[in-house]
């Protein structure tokens, strides 16, 4: 084949080197990413596991212990209050945000596609650009006093936390849902209308069932964001290390207790390692969310 291509050789050479540069550049980037990823996982895991292997805290106490008192005598490292706090706030936030997001997404794609996309979408995307400390401060200045005057008590707690979180995950969930809805083939809607179905019937009998896995993907990604959010929640949730008995009671999440104490503890102390174990729990939960999304995507393709 060399003989055939000889006249065009210089051009071919150029392509050849371009190809190489591109390959090397992307490969280096990929390698860098992989190194960073593995280092992070290794670091968090080695720190987090040393609580159990080095400091002798039992895994059972960590997962199911209700008392968190690392400075007490004897010290107790029960992280159950934080784990429950994280799950309750995340689930409630998803519960509040999902219907709102679904309606917004339907509005943008099915009901008023032109204007809805032009006005609503930028407005919702704007929400994701607001720094979380601002959400926290708004929560502290608006939501907490509001809850206080409506229900009494301190106002801070799970309720305030999940309200703030639900607003924060709205853009993530909405934009994923809207993308899924607009990616639907046109023929599906048209055939539904052709059969005499109304718009509402088309939406809830045809469109929603078809894109359900993608809608769930949006919700799961929103939950992953809510699970990892630290600053805004920390400001409004109250951070008492107890399993809450009501929505208006002060509670903590894994992230809030990590941000609250990490800087005050010295590296290598049991207290510090226990915080890393919580970081490990967060990491594992993120893996679970990623796996969930992957499974949903697989269903989506079929």
């Amino acid at each position: 084949m060399n003989n055939k291509l000889k006249p065009r050789r210089p051009l071919r050479e150029k392509h050849y080197w371009e190809e190489w540069t591109g390959r090397i550049y992307t490969s280096i980037c990929v390698v860098f990413l992989i190194v960073v990823m593995f280092s992070i996982v290794y670091f968090v895991a080695s720190k987090g596991l040393s609580t159990f292997f080095q400091d002798g805290v039992s895994l059972r106490e960590f997962i199911s212990g209700k008392t968190w008192n690392p400075t007490g005598e004897p010290a107790a490292y029960g992280a159950l209050p934080f784990i429950t706090g994280s799950f309750i706030t995340t689930l409630l936030a998803a519960l509040i945000a999902s219907p709102l997001s679904l309606c917004a997404a339907l509005f943008m794609t099915e009901i008023v596609p032109g204007k809805g996309k032009k006005i609503l979408q930028p407005a919702i995307e704007l929400l994701s650009g607001i720094p979380s400390v601002v959400y926290g401060f708004i929560g502290l200045s608006v939501i907490v006093p509001l809850l206080r005057s409506m229900f009494g008590g301190a106002g801070v707690g799970i309720a305030a936390g999940c309200l703030v979180l639900s607003v924060m995950i709205l853009p993530t969930v909405t934009s994923i849902m809207a993308d899924a809805l607009s990616a639907l083939p046109k023929g599906l809607r048209e055939s539904s209308y052709a059969l005499g179905a109304t718009r509402w019937q088309t939406i809830y009998r045809v469109i929603i069932p078809t894109v359900l896995p993608a809608l769930l993907t949006g919700i799961v990604l929103g939950m992953a964001r809510a699970f990892g959010e630290a600053l805004a929640v920390q400001m409004v949730i109250g951070n008492a290390p107890h399993v809450p008995t009501s929505l208006l009671e002060s509670a903590s999440t894994l992230t809030s207790v990590i941000t609250l104490s990490m800087g005050n503890t010295t590296m290598g102390s049991v207290h510090n390692n226990a915080l890393w174990s919580m970081a490990l729990v967060l990491l594992v939960m993120t893996f679970v969310f990623v796996i969930l999304v992957r499974l949903l995507e697989r269903r989506n393709r079929v």
Binding site: S27, G238, H242, S250, N264, N272
Partner: protein
Amino acid sequence: MFKKLPFILMTLTFVLVLAACGSKNDAGTEGSNNSTGETATELSGNILAVGSTALQPLVEQAGQKFMAVDEYKNVTVQVQGGGSGTGLTQVSDGQATIGNSDVFAEEKIDDAAKVSELKDHQVAVVAIAPVSNKDAGVQDLTKQQLIDIFSGKITNWKDVGGKDQAIVIVNRPSSSGTRATFENFALGTKVEDIQGSIQEDSSGTVKKLVAETPGAIGYLALSYLDDSLQVLKYEGVEATVENVEAGTYPVWAYEHMYTKGDPDAATKAFLDYILSDEIQQKDVTELGYIPVSGMKVKRDAAGTVTQ
């Protein structure tokens, strides 16, 4: 050849990752050279002060002034927050020149050998006052009343002479230096976190919550006090600079700047500069701390007070 490239690089990746893991133990010593000031006539070097966010504003301001002095123009002072624990860890590992801390190193580091390496430089004093919401109707609390409130025995303001209103505790996290000071010197005992209490790490948030929440009680450094809060007297003594200096108001702690061993020339010059009258009389008081020079009493790591 093309197709093999990713595999070659992948292998390289794992080698790198493993290498990174293997060298973990040496990581601590690498940064230790950043403080080598030349001991020659002209002072130069980099000073990295890390730690306590309570002390950060003072060190930052002093650092700016220090670098503006002609004599020290070759010295760079960098200040970072991160918390007392971070400061002590980093100075102990040699990653920072100075570790800023709100508490004695003995209270944070369990390893006695590591503590003995560190040299303590006390640069200021911070006093902490109990504060309550303005409508609680109480101006003065005794030590026992405070203990009962923070341990959950007293849950209504009417039991300490105030309004009939539930008490909301706004605490610091159990690892906080401010909380340690309050527990050691106001309560004299550690208290557990009460169910339903609030914990915040930033003084600004504590202030906002105490000012706005009916029935709230908390504690703040003197620099944060203003008219939005009811400052409570402790055992009848008001939290003022004079009372702290005279030793009649006991809820205070030193702000420490730790170095690993004796400081080098540049670092020593900086620490001396912070302790000079110029900084102590002006910047320290302006920023709401109390100068160490004015203290008529001294306290050691065990909490023993001497005149």
